[in-house]
């Protein structure tokens, strides 16, 4: 009764791959739908302050007095201690690269000649390992490395709107001499 099975495991499995030529010739029916949805995300207590400080060209974190972590992005509760965080702490707009990629495709899979360099940047003044996601520029792909020291390059004050993109990008801290 299981002619398509050998000792119970399938030899023949069902499912019909679409023939792309038939699809192009209009021989296969399909319908389509493009959603038009808009959302307005409230930024909340912690991140609203974070964005306000970004607008002023500063990075701010939150400290938990129990575990003593200085956390960025900031949060009003400590997810480890599960208690309210206690104070705002300014941290520096410099840090070092924890990990990075040289990315040659965009979010919609278009190809890029010059790669984007998304990086996790550990922020100076926050607890060890506390990083944020951002983009590093003005570095040759071959010179990019874990541990590279970088600083934020801010947009001009008049162009800042209270967004993570108020930091235009990060670039290597230049060495004198």
């Amino acid at each position: 009764m299981n002619a398509d099975r050998e000792n119970g495991a399938p030899r023949v499995v069902r499912g019909t791959p679409v023939d792309l030529r038939a699809l192009k010739r209009g021989k296969i029916f399909f319908t389509s739908y493009t959603p038009r949805l808009r959302y307005a995300w409230d930024t909340g207590e912690a991140i609203s302050r974070y964005l306000e400080e970004l607008k002023h060209g500063r990075l701010i974190a939150r400290r938990c007095h129990r575990c003593q972590r200085v956390m960025i992005p900031p949060r009003m509760f400590c997810e480890r201690c599960f208690r309210p965080t206690d104070e705002w702490v300014y941290v520096r707009d410099s840090g070092k690269v924890n990990t990075f990629s040289l990315c040659y495709v965009t979010w919609d899979v278009r190809r890029l000649k010059q790669p984007e360099i998304p990086s996790v940047i550990e922020i100076d003044g926050a607890s060890p390992g506390m990083g944020i996601l951002h983009l590093v520029k003005r570095v040759k792909p071959k010179e990019m490395r874990v541990g590279l020291e970088v600083k934020a390059v801010w947009k001009p004050a008049a162009k800042r709107v209270g967004s993570i993109t108020d930091i235009s990008h990060w670039e290597p801290i230049s060495r004198r001499g």
Binding site: E6, R14, G15, I47, T99, P115, P118, L133
Partner: protein
């Protein structure tokens, strides 16, 4: 343990393919029916139905669980959808286990389905919303970023080379040649993998699983029912899962601690003390080549940073000491998200019954572990199955 014993008694799946003619509901039906037929079980013998599917955005069908219900055999039955991102396909089997182990039902049908081809021009666009809406999405991230960042961190901490990572693609795509459902089985060399396009360094195209359409299903039964249905039940010996923080830029990505916790939860339940000796087959989640190595370490099947060396030594080959991904995995069989995890459970079911045909692992393996991973690089789901009934 205050659980009833639960066994997998049937398994089935569809082909995994780039674009299926079938609707999501039809794919679910094909897999569910194949699983029921494999153990000569009728739908009216099924107590409850569990479905697993990744975000609605992939299929583009809102309330996908409800939509899929008819195809899953859930008409007028207790039915629920469970979801832990990419970890869903393995977790769904644990969810089915709870229904039967608790004594609520004697049988459960678990179905996982995904149809990623619907999202045009590429489901990448559906992935962008997994990033934090305020602090990350304005940077226009894409899904490759997090894999590339994690792979780079893993390589950096241990001094792992791209050649070592590429061997996973070679092994899994070769293993998939023996799988009748496979989308991307291939005979490749390490050089082929490294010569493929760099999408997001260090990730090369042939280190990435495809997007896929497909479904997979298993039938679970309590001990007395299972023994009536088959003389080769495959017992669920342990389940575990664990979620880490969404503040992923605050974690060191080189090692999945959440997976270590999930694995020990399952191993403790299964009475396993030395996973490397007591597990005979592993089906770790391999959406990207490095992930298999990362996960083998999280599963305690290789010391931290040592999985690449064990791979190079042949330990994870189909005829090695600890075969890993004999199915061909997500890299070779395909990656219809939730269905891919359940495919791994199906593979263990066939392997442990000695029914895996061309893919059969030699030496009469008695115990295997399947694992899936997902969300914002933060969830580990683990199921341990074996030929011996749990104590």
């Amino acid at each position: 343990m205050a659980f009833r014993r639960v066994a997998i008694v049937g398994a089935g799946m569809t082909k995994f393919m780039h674009r299926a003619l079938e609707t999501p509901k039809e794919l679910a039906w094909l897999a569910a029916k194949a699983a029921l037929d494999s153990c000569q079980t009728k739908l009216d013998q099924i107590g409850c139905v569990v479905v697993g599917s990744a975000p609605d955005a992939f299929d583009g069908v809102h309330m996908k669980g409800e939509y899929l219900s008819d195809g899953c055999g859930a008409w007028r039955k207790p039915y629920l959808r469970c979801y832990v991102g990419g970890g869903t396909g393995v977790y769904a089997v644990a969810q089915g286990f709870f229904q039967v182990a608790s004594g609520m039902f004697d049988t459960a049908l678990v179905v996982c389905e995904e149809k990623m081809s619907a999202c045009q021009p590429h489901p990448q666009a559906a992935f962008i919303t997994i990033f934090d809406s305020v602090t990350e999405q304005p940077l226009k991230p894409n899904l490759l970023w997090i894999f590339a960042l994690e792979q780079n961190r893993y390589m950096q901490v241990h001094g792992i080379t791209l050649e070592e990572i590429a061997r996973v693609s070679v092994k899994n795509k070769r293993n998939a040649l023996g799988h009748p459902a496979a989308q991307l089985g291939a005979e490749l060399t390490v050089e082929d993998v490294l010569a493929s396009e760099v999408l997001a360094w260090p990730v090369h195209r042939l280190m990435v699983s495809p997007t896929s359409d497909g479904a997979a299903a298993v039938v679970l039964a309590a001990e007395d029912v299972a023994r009536r249905i088959t003389d080769k039940p495959i017992w669920i010996q342990g389940v575990g899962w664990c979620l880490d923080t969404t503040y992923w830029t605050n974690r060191d990505l080189f090692y999945p601690e959440y997976l270590e916790k999930a694995a020990w939860m399952a191993y403790r339940m299964a009475g396993i003390r030395e996973p490397r000796k007591e597990i005979h087959i592993a089906e770790p989640y391999d959406p990207f080549a490095y992930k298999e190595l990362h996960h083998l370490e999280g599963l305690q099947l290789a010391p931290k940073g040592q999985a690449p060396k064990l791979l190079a030594d042949g330990v994870f080959d189909r005829d090695g000491d600890l075969p890993a991904t004999p199915s061909g995995g997500l890299l070779g069989v395909g990656n219809p998200i939730a269905a891919a995890g359940t495919m791994k459970i199906c593979e263990l079911f066939w392997q442990l019954r000695g029914e895996a045909g061309a893919r059969q692992v030699p030496g009469k393996p008695e115990r295997g572990v399947a694992q899936a991973w997902g969300d914002l690089m933060q969830v580990g789901t683990v199921v341990v199955v074996g030929t011996k009934a749990p104590q």
